[in-house]
């Protein structure tokens, strides 16, 4: 009897293990989606409701760089398309966030008038921007579903045990780890990161020290938007590309940064992993709860810890 119990437990864990691994991978992707949102909220105390639309814009820019349609320049197009997909994908991964980041900086210039005023102005402006970006996407690229071509090396699947895993998902998870690491190094190991953190902690002091706060905000917003675009490029082959895909990104991103604690990098990462894990496990064992589970987790955490897992204690709290 104990032997049978042992075997059934082993079976259970053998079945569970792939879902745990999948939960971690999903969590890393969620964390990647939330990084840009976290940076902007943490430093600028602005909830960027256009995050999802900028995520979608990243997807479309990636599509442009991987499979451009240059109707007026057919020779240029054929010369560019002669490049290997891997090269074009690499270009997209670099240039799409760059262009979307520059666009984000323009958006920040519009956002400046809302600083120091009712936070609703910032919310309204970014919400309006989200609607405009989505409509522009619809006008330029149409409302149909698009697919991002992938390099051969990261498309397809591989066998592990008797289960099939997606190569691209492995690549995307590894890329998410890389981005988290790079962002951590930037914030913790460079003077620029120190300035950004100081700006988040006490912007008046930063200004008093002679640093240009406006420029700091401009760069931080651009970086946050570029991170949204990177997440868009990485998620494009998994979620598909459509104009309204941003809604699917902005909701979990918002949930993750509140769950992890506003402005906390590791909070966003841990919250992303937790959300990925509950969504992945419920998807496997109680599928109808898979989307609801992240909200239940959120309620459970903020009920007992209203500032999130890694949120700093407010001076107003006793």
């Amino acid at each position: 009897m104990p032997r049978r119990l042992l075997f059934s437990s082993m079976d259970f864990f053998a079945n569970l293990l792939p879902h745990l691994v999948n939960g971690v991978s999903l969590g890393l992707l969620f964390a990647l989606i939330a990084l840009g949102f976290m940076l902007i909220v943490g430093v600028m105390e602005t909830i960027n409701l256009a995050h999802g639309s900028l995520f979608a814009l990243g997807m479309y820019f990636a599509l442009f760089f991987v499979a451009p349609k240059l109707g007026w320049f057919p020779e240029l197009q054929s010369a560019y398309m002669a490049l290997p997909v891997a090269t074009r994908y690499g270009i997209a991964l670099f240039l799409a966030p760059l262009f979307v980041g520059l666009f984000g900086m323009l958006l920040e210039l519009c956002l400046r008038r809302t600083y120091g005023r009712d936070p609703l102005y910032g919310l309204l402006l970014t919400f309006g921007a989200a609607l405009v970006i989505e409509e522009v996407i619809r006008l330029v690229w149409g409302s149909n579903e698009k697919q991002l071509p992938l390099p051969e090396a990261i498309s397809g699947a591989f066998m592990l045990g008797d289960l099939i895993y997606s190569k691209y998902r492995l690549f995307a998870s590894a890329f998410a780890v890389l981005m988290i690491g790079v962002l951590w190094c930037f914030l913790e190991r460079t003077p620029y990161g120190a300035i950004i953190k100081a700006g988040a902690h006490d912007s008046e002091m930063v200004r008093a020290l002679g640093l240009n706060l406006s420029r700091l905000r401009l760069y931080v917003f651009g970086l946050g938007v570029a991170l949204a675009a990177i997440a868009g490029v990485v998620m494009a082959p998994i979620w598909g590309i459509r104009p309204h895909v941003g809604v699917d990104a902005v909701v979990p991103a918002f949930l993750i940064i509140v769950l992890g604690g506003v402005g906390s990098l590791w909070g966003a990462v841990v919250a992303g992993l937790m959300v990925g894990m509950v969504v992945g496990l419920t998807g496997a064992y109680a599928s109808e709860w898979s989307l609801m589970s992240m909200y239940l987790l959120f309620i459970a955490v903020v009920t007992f810890r209203s500032r999130g897992l890694f949120g700093k204690k407010s001076v107003l709290e006793v």
Binding site: L29, I164, S290
Partner: protein
């Protein structure tokens, strides 16, 4: 002379007394009405507003307003756009002939956002404020149900063009609602028996967690079990699920012979992409209840796998199909979807048939038009399908040809992505449970509506 004077005087008296008399009468009437309303709990002088509408419209040739209740955002935005083009094409054809009953047709569109609450709000607004004579359009069954409840309240005829939940012509049927798409049961009938024979008996259901998904999977389950198969698991997929990795891992662990999906809109697009990434399109038999053209058009041929149902295809070898496609391309040049599909076809056919009925009835009176639509026969040639269709008078569901299809590995052109495997007669795929579940309101219980 005196007579004349008398006569003039009486006329003067009439003229001079008439306003005060009528004011007094009005005041008395109002007071009585208020007392009556207080006693009976109803407003006696405010007759049913439907009559007011008849008075307002009857003497004039006002444009006939058709409310297009189609999604432009959310899960079914792409399909909503296509069915709108179909309805607009039918309206244009009638307007080119001078409209209907001498009235020009005006279409107004409001986005129903793939959200039932928005559907209700849009329907209410179109009827009460825009004076829409008819409402047309729905893909999401929850939205269709919400619109039809409002439409029934007013008596406004509503065409559910593309929502294929069996409940739409079953328990959620209404006298004013007519359902034009094949439903989940029709498609399951067409597919399941052959699929069990070809693939095996152990099936997994993947079900979008809302009305259409549940009712479609219920029909599939019943047919699988009736044919000796077994449902080993049903995986419920919440709407707006974008990551299917845990579902696909679970499927690999379950190792079913076939997976029957009742997943629609953006969800099925994401699922397909992820299935292809894992190359599970080749290792598992996929049975997709219905495949709407806008859901697969942009995905590329490698993402179209498994066997699925549809009600129409643009390369059916039937008279009139080529002309129908050419008319679409002429009217909508440069569209992202270059050729029409089943969703457009449903939108067009439903609108055209409604306007024909109005023309034949000679009136927009809802009861007259409803009676004209009920039991209506539509020839196969006219509908560009293989078999004659008819509107079931007991359920208000259009009984039509169902096509079985798969990916076309030898396409004649870029858009030729479906291979039609067979066509099934409407009587062979009939939803026999619908008539028992559907309880249409009586004509008397349906408010008269004529705009």
């Amino acid at each position: 002379m005196s007579d004349t004077t008398q006569s003039d005087k009486s006329e003067d008296e009439k003229l001079s007394t008439s306003p005060s008399t009528s004011r007094r009468t009005l005041l008395k009437g109002t007071a009585l009405a208020a007392v009556g309303a207080a006693l009976t709990g109803v407003a006696p002088f405010m007759g049913p507003w439907k009559h007011n509408r008849i008075w307002a419209q009857a003497s004039q040739k006002k444009p006939l307003v058709i409310g297009l209740t189609m999604d432009a955002s959310g899960q079914y935005a792409a399909s909503g756009g296509e069915e709108r083009l179909g309805a607009m094409m039918a309206i244009k054809e009638f307007n080119d002939k001078g409209g209907v009953l001498g009235r020009r047709i005006e279409a107004i569109h409001m986005d129903t956002e793939t959200t039932p609450a928005t559907g209700s709000r849009v329907a209410e607004r179109m009827i009460a404020r825009n004076e829409a004579a008819f409402l047309i359009g729905a893909v999401h069954s929850g939205v269709a149900n919400a619109i039809s409840q409002v439409a029934q309240k007013y008596g406004t005829i509503f065409l559910n063009t593309n929502s294929s939940s069996p409940t739409e012509a079953g328990k959620d049927c209404h006298r004013v609602k007519f359902v034009w798409d094949g439903n989940g049961t029709n498609f399951a009938h067409a597919i399941v028996k052959n699929a069990i024979r070809a693939n095996g008996k152990n099936w997994v259901l993947m079900t979008n967690d809302y009305v259409w998904g549940h009712s479609t999977s219920k029909a599939t389950r019943a047919l699988v079990e009736a044919n000796g198969g077994k449902i080993v698991e049903e995986l419920l997929v919440p709407q707006n699920t974008r990551d299917f990795s845990s579902y696909l891992l679970k499927l690999q662990q379950l190792k079913p012979n076939a997976v029957a999906t009742a997943i629609g809109g953006d969800d099925i697009k994401s699922l397909r992409q992820q299935v292809v990434q894992l190359k599970m399109n080749n290792s598992t038999a996929w049975i997709n209840n219905q495949q709407d053209w806008p859901d697969v058009y942009g995905l590329g041929p490698e993402s179209i796998f498994g066997v699925f149902g549809t009600t129409w295809y643009y390369r059916l070898d039937l008279p009139g199909v080529k002309e129908f496609v050419a008319a679409y391309q002429k009217q909508y040049p440069g569209m992202a979807i270059r050729v029409p599909g089943n969703v457009y076809h449903n939108g067009y056919m439903a609108t055209r048939e409604l306007l024909r009925c109005v023309e034949e009835t000679g009136s927009t009176n809802n009861i007259a038009v409803i009676k004209k639509l009920e039991g209506r026969k539509m020839s196969a040639r006219d509908r560009l399908q293989h078999f004659d269709a008819w509107m079931d008078p007991a359920t208000h569901h259009c009984q039509q040809t169902i096509y079985m299809a798969s990916y076309n590995d030898k396409p004649a052109e870029k858009d030729d992505i479906f291979k039609i495997l067979s066509q099934v007669e409407p009587k062979d795929v009939a939803d026999k449970d619908a008539a028992g579940a559907c309880k249409l309101e009586s004509y008397e219980a349906t408010p008269v509506y004529e705009v």
